[in-house]
């Protein structure tokens, strides 16, 4: 459903060719992080704190070092001192200093000639701890008398006299909120809570690192951003970034969790200590869950004023979010900025608190903060719609953000597609299905900013007229296919004539990771610039051969052509012909583009879900699920649909089952997939999708990122559906069967 004034009628964009990595992945040829092996390689194992908070009094590695096959042991003493800010946080998380800050915090590591010897040696490393009081829950961490996670963590935003674990405060908004509430017919206020969840990527973190005494090194790693791996590892180890060459593997999921480092510098530090022998480090699932970044847990107060006709008059939010034991990891700012982004509300106030807790260092997770915010706001909107007897889609249409609306976070929106997603959801057959007993329908909308960022791309012509594109962001969700399609469209050549390579850090300028739903947007925009450089050069070569001015040559359908009859009558000169003679006509033809990219268009989506709740067990079954989202322009619609479905599946898991469960001792109780319950295929129906296309004017093909918004509406949509099915409103995720059963009983008992 395209809705635009941009040039349409593309030959390739919007088609669904085979994915370029398909054969490698179905035959097992694709190389993931753990698949890299090099001669003379050692294996690493990491010793982790069994305590949520403890002083490290002594580390004795003598028994481990005496074990045959052990080549090196590293502790924090092997890392440089003098770091500050985020570099120090990264180093502190890589290997604990004087204090272990969470269950699973790395304390020491060993490299040996086999994985088994390394694991045995790790068990021989003796660590003496003094256990300290700990705090896990976000509201407990906000108490004045809470155990202090890190002394002096509060920044300049925190007023004196604040609770000791508050690291950052923020507030923003506009309009007269109190006057807005006074104008409302109904004002409702509730508190909503979500638990920490993990990105749950199937592929654990894995790398092979090699570093010599000369400070030159190499790393093969599963990551969303190898320049980040390079910069962060170099900072933690005190080496020069340019001396570390980082090559990304294929990636089996990241969702934001692989935009940073966790154990990668350990492999390099072990290698350096083992005389430069390469070291492989592969995390177990338990290590991934205990020691890599989940998202924050949240406690959120939301208040909204609404007139009887559904018009929203004012809103306020106070969010508390913990992002683990380190400053800067709680997405509270993002959450607040997204909270009311779907609405045109004249008066809004936001207030937020970043809180430290004895949990692993949080990482980004798909639209960081937005799913929690949506759960709070979209749940309350649903409660108010039910209280006033209003249709939830009509209320969203009445208040929905449009082009020119002042966004809740300040500026006016450009062209956006929220209203189109609401209209498409209302018109979809799923919205008309009649529901039976114990069944309920939930609706929610969601938002993500999207991002451009630092991007460097190059293109080069082969001698046969085929094109190689070099990109610096791993292909996590169809990037090679979408870049291939945009490249082929730009040149007017077959998709099969383009090869897109994800290249290492030595081959391009700096690239940010695949975060902020930026990969297809930013790489596509940059490659069009790079390709146009080569097209200009090819027109110049053709002009020279024809003896006319370069300006008299135009490019269309893969060939240079005279721009008009006045330019002369020459047959088209194809890309193949120009490339075949390029050595003699001036040399290789290549283009490149480097930029910090702007113009990422805001992303909106609306979800509709029908559930059935078993009144005897409290188990929720997803009957049907609809995702409607604005893609701007779907370059490869199958991948876009995949992103929509993937976001919905993860959001459903967050809503129904997933949570970090801690014991009273502060240890994670469910560090395996058997107990940390992500949805599996049999839990879900086929997720229906509708791609809305309101093109982004900031991209040559109208692209908006599509990776993140899809995880935002499921949390409230599912909760709203369960409330409709049971009559019991649950304001604390996940909606696990025991919790649903208890809420139903409480609702029945009045």
């Amino acid at each position: 459903m395209p809705k635009d004034e941009l040039k349409a009628g593309y030959k390739l964009i919007g088609t669904r060719p085979n994915r370029p990595d398909g054969l490698d992945k179905v035959t097992g040829r694709a190389r993931y992080g753990a698949d890299f092996s090099v001669p003379n390689m050692l294996w690493a194992a990491v010793v982790r704190s069994p305590h949520a908070h403890a002083k490290i009094l002594k580390i004795d590695a003598s028994k481990a070092l005496a074990l045959p096959g052990v080549k090196a042991v590293v502790t924090r003493a092997d890392l440089p001192t003098g770091l500050s800010g985020e570099d120090l946080n990264l180093q502190d998380n890589t290997l604990a200093g004087d204090v272990a800050l969470y269950d699973g915090h790395a304390v020491a590591a060993v490299a040996a000639t086999s994985a088994l010897i390394a694991q045995d040696a790790a068990r021989l490393i003796e660590v003496e701890y003094e256990v300290l009081p700990h705090v896990i829950d976000v509201d407990d961490a906000m108490r004045m008398d809470a155990p202090v996670v890190q002394e002096g963590a509060a920044d300049h935003t925190v007023p004196e006299g604040s609770p000791p674990n508050v690291a950052r405060c923020l507030d923003f908004g506009h309009g007269d909120v109190e006057a807005g509430f006074a104008e409302a017919d109904l004002v409702m206020e509730n508190t909503y809570r979500t638990e920490a969840t993990h990105q749950g990527y199937i592929e654990p973190h894995a790398c092979v690192g090699q570093l010599g005494e000369d400070g030159k090194g190499e790393m093969w790693v599963c990551t969303q951003g190898h320049w980040y791996i390079r910069r962060m590892s170099a900072a933690v180890l005190g080496i020069e970034a340019a001396q570390l060459r980082v090559t990304p593997s294929e990636i089996g999921g990241g969702f934001g969790g692989k935009t940073t480092i966790f154990s990668e510098p350990i492999a390099l530090a072990l290698s350096r200590k083992a005389g430069g022998r390469p070291v492989k480090l592969v995390m177990s699932r338990a290590e991934v869950l205990r020691a890599t970044g989940p998202t924050a847990s949240a406690s959120m107060d939301v208040k909204i004023g609404m007139k009887k006709d559904g018009t929203m008059t004012a809103a306020s939010a106070v969010f508390r979010m913990q992002g683990g034991a380190f400053v800067g990891m709680s997405p509270v700012g993002e959450a607040l900025s997204c909270a009311f982004a779907c609405y045109n509300i004249p008066a809004i106030h936001h207030e937020g608190y970043e809180v430290l807790a004895n949990r692993p260092k949080a990482a980004a997770y798909r639209a960081p903060g937005s799913p929690m915010a949506a759960f709070a706001v979209e749940s309350l909107v649903d409660e108010m719609c039910r209280a006033l007897g209003l249709d939830p889609i009509e209320v969203r249409l009445k208040n929905g953000a449009r082009e020119g609306t002042k966004a809740s976070y300040g500026p006016k929106y450009k062209q956006i597609g929220l209203v189109e997603t609401l209209e498409a959801a209302r018109a979809h057959p799923n919205y008309q299905v009649k529901l039976g007993p114990n069944q309920g329908r939930g609706v929610a909308s969601g938002f993500w900013f999207n991002h451009g960022g630092e991007t460097s791309v190059s293109v080069a012509l082969g001698e046969d007229g085929t094109v190689t594109v070099s990109i610096g962001t791993p292909d996590i969700g169809g990037l090679r296919a979408s870049v291939g399609l945009m490249t082929a469209e730009t040149y007017g050549i077959p998709y099969e004539d383009v090869r897109v390579n994800v290249v290492e850090t030595g081959a391009l300028g700096v690239n940010e990771p695949t975060h902020g739903s930026r990969a297809t947007f930013a790489n596509g925009k940059a490659l069009v610039e790079a390709a146009n450089q080569t097209i200009k050069e090819m027109c110049k070569r053709a002009a020279k051969k024809w003896g006319i001015e370069p300006e008299a040559v135009e490019w269309a359908d893969g060939a240079a052509r005279p721009a008009g009859d006045n330019a002369g009558k020459f047959p088209p000169m194809t890309i193949g012909e120009i490339a075949a003679g390029m050595g003699a006509s001036g040399g290789p033809i290549a283009g490149h583009h480097e930029v910090t990219m702007g113009g990422a268009g805001a992303s909106f989506g609306t979800h509709v879900v029908d559930v059935e709740v078993d009144p005897e067990t409290g188990r929720t079954t997803i009957l049907r699920y609809l995702v409607v989202q604005d893609a701007g322009r779907a370059i490869h619609p199958a991948y876009v649909e995949g992103q929509y479905q993937g976001g919905a599946a993860q959001g459903i898991g967050w809503a129904l089952n997933e949570e970090y469960v801690y014991g009273k001792d502060g240890r994670l109780q469910n560090p395996v997939f058997l107990d940390y319950r992500v949805p599996v295929a049999s839990d879900l129906p086929m997720i229906d999708t509708v791609i809305v296309e309101v093109p982004n004017p900031g991209h040559p093909y109208g692209v908006r990122g599509v990776g993140e918004t899809g995880i935002t509406p499921p949390l409230p949509a599912v909760a709203n559906a369960v409330a409709a099915a049971t009559g019991a409103r649950i304001r604390h995720l996940p909606l696990s069967p025991p919790k649903v059963l208890a809420a139903m009983k409480a609702s029945r008992d009045g």
Binding site: D155, H156, H174, K412, F449, H451, S517, G598
Partner: protein, 81 residues
């Protein structure tokens, strides 16, 4: 002169003003001018700041142009997943 909309938490460093004007032609010049006029803003900008110009959110683009006609909002730095 460029009119800059600050987030409300910054008002205590700008004598209560949520909208301030500075002489600048780029985002970088604008941030420098803001710090010069209101030194209390410096640590906030050092943390990283996101700027929305005419509805377009930009991060770390100090060369982005701003004009007297631009709608400029400062936001705390955003991260993505």
């Amino acid at each position: 002169m460029v009119e800059v909309n600050l987030w409300s938490g910054l008002r205590r460093f700008t004598d209560g003003a949520q909208v301030v004007t500075v002489e600048a032609s780029t985002v970088g010049e604008m941030l420098d001018a803001l710090v010069k006029a209101h030194p209390g803003l410096e640590p906030f900008f050092a943390d990283g700041v996101t700027v929305a110009i005419d509805g377009e959110v930009v991060t770390a683009q100090n060369d982005a142009p701003v004009t007297a006609e631009s709608e400029v909002f400062l936001m705390q730095r955003l991260k993505g997943g």
